[in-house]
């Protein structure tokens, strides 16, 4: 029983982390049809920005909640700057090329940004555990939960709700939906597609950085943290269906629970299980769980 509830809570926490990272990736893919390898860099930059923020506020004598907020804002600010630079500086030049070529462009950007991190923050690793420690623990029966993990799940849930509301009920969200559905028709009806692209990319970048920022207290912020995140987020997005927000949610839950189950029951297959699930889903549903059928174009 304890194992079962541990699997469930661990899985939920891991799913929350995956969802926060994957939602930005799936948003960018859905709207722009760009599989953004540089998303891992957004994550890493967010984490480094957050670590810096934690360093600042633990030196000054700030209340914990303000510090947490500062950390998140700092991470997202880094994402904002990075998103603007990349979209306006580089991606703008390659719109209209093959999807696969654009993947490689983002791969090149990813390589460059890996070294930019070294230039800005140096090769040493950062610890930013303070928010996690100051949040304390909650005990439910025999299960000990970190309050920080609970906040993480809450943030993920909030993001899911926010994304749903923004897409269905705001003007920008509806414009976005039309662009996702058919870019050319939307442009013909006077939607400023370029603007939608820029905005989407920046939001996606901020979400990626947010993922890094909230994870910073749980991990050692060190070189190469972006590399693993990319393939994880890819797996989640591929399971759910590229470009689908609800798909990312379901994908994150599936991967989160499966991984937690593997960690608790058969630790040897921990890494294997994530991609195993992904391959399995893709065999049955080639384009993911939540994707509408594409018409064949002759």
């Amino acid at each position: 029983m304890l194992t079962a509830s541990a699997i469930l809570t661990d899985g939920l926490v891991y799913a929350a982390y995956l969802f926060i990272v994957a939602i930005g990736l799936t948003l960018i893919f859905g709207v722009m049809k760009i599989l953004n390898v540089a998303h891992g860099s957004f994550y890493a930059f967010g984490a480094y920005g957050a670590a810096t923020a934690v360093g600042i506020y633990t030196n000054g004598d700030w209340p914990a909640a303000a510090g947490f907020l500062f950390m998140i804002l700092m991470g997202m600010a880094v994402g904002l700057v990075l998103g603007i630079i990349l979209e306006r500086g580089i991606l703008r030049l390659v719109y209209g090329k093959d999807e696969v070529i654009i993947v490689l462009v983002t791969y090149a950007v990813f390589l460059i940004l890996e070294d930019v991190i070294v230039l800005i923050w140096g090769p040493q690793s950062y610890a930013a555990y303070q928010p996690m420690v100051s949040a304390g623990n909650t005990e439910i029966g025999e299960l000990v939960l970190s309050n920080y993990d609970i906040v993480l799940v809450a943030i993920a849930a909030l993001l899911a709700g926010l994304a749903y509301w923004a897409l269905k009920f705001t003007r920008y969200g509806r414009l976005l939906t039309t662009v996702i559905f058919d870019r050319e028709t939307a442009a013909a009806f006077g939607v400023n597609v370029t603007l939608v692209y820029t905005a989407t990319f920046i939001i996606g970048a901020m979400l990626g950085a947010l993922g890094g920022a909230v994870m910073a207290p749980k991990i050692a912020v060190t070189l190469g943290i972006g590399v693993e995140v990319i393939v994880l987020a890819f797996a989640v997005v591929a399971i759910g269906g590229m470009g689908s927000i609800e798909g990312a949610l379901v994908g994150a839950l599936i991967v989160g629970i499966c991984r937690a189950a593997a960690v608790h029951l058969v630790p040897q297959i921990e890494l294997f299980v994530i991609y195993g699930v992904m391959a399995l889903v893709l065999v049955v549903r080639p384009y993911g769980l939540f994707v509408r059928a594409q018409p064949r174009k002759i």
């Binding site: 599989l35 950007v109 890996e114 070294d115 930019v116 393939v231 991609y275 080639p286």
Partner: protein
Amino acid sequence: MFLFAAAAAPLLPDWVVSLVTIAFANGLVVLGLVVLWRAGLVSFGQALYYCIGAYAVALTARWTGFTDAFALVVIGGVAAGLVAVLIGFLLARYREIFFAMLSLALSMILYGVLVKTESLGSTDGFSVATPTFFGYAPHREALGLALYWLTLGVDAIGAVLIGVYFRSVAGALAAPIRDNEIRVEFLGVSVTSIIHTKVVVAGILGGLGGALAALAIGHVDPNMAYWTTSGGFVFVTILAGAGSVAAAFVGSLVFEGVRSFAFDVMPQLWQMTLGSVLLLTILFLPDGLGSVVARLKRRGEAKS
């Protein structure tokens, strides 16, 4: 080109020989990617076959004590080829990003399995036995040269065969498939089986490259299956372009050269250098380095 490179070998310093060996071993993997790329497919998991080829060689030598380099390379190629046949049934149904993603997932599965297999050294991998050549057992410099010639030989055979394949009907259909698959189907050709063949060809080449690399490096580890390894191969493919067979090897050579140069001169910034080269290639030479040669040739013809 291969004959020239083979003849020049004894004159070159050791480090050049080993660099070129690795570059030409990887060139085979890139050639496999070129085969796919001509049909518009990019595999972000080609390291799967590379790794299988390498581990097949290492494990055969370790378990049976069999160290003949020629046979080991063949074993590496066959092992990867068999895996490619199986995977091909699945992969051949996918295109574009999904093809890339699924091959990525498959290579990451292998990576995950290898990392967790402690009997095979987990993340550290293990050493490969020193190869012999029909009973001839060279050491140090002589071994390096022998492997160099072996790599060149395998490359030359591979290059000729792939050249033949490109001129065959199945090879020539690559560009039409890339442009419009449904019309190719209307010609009465099964696109799926052509792509399946390409996956297998690329897999065999990947396995051969991995086998040669394992012998040349003398060590195998799970990182050979990691997605960044695949990324490197795709990088070279774009750098080289799909124009010709030779471009794959020249591209691989340029890549290894740039990498060791950047690593030497600015160890902190070699990834940035690689990324910038890739970005500039895509922006200004969308058809790869090979297109420069083709363009110069055309200009020469226009003048005469």
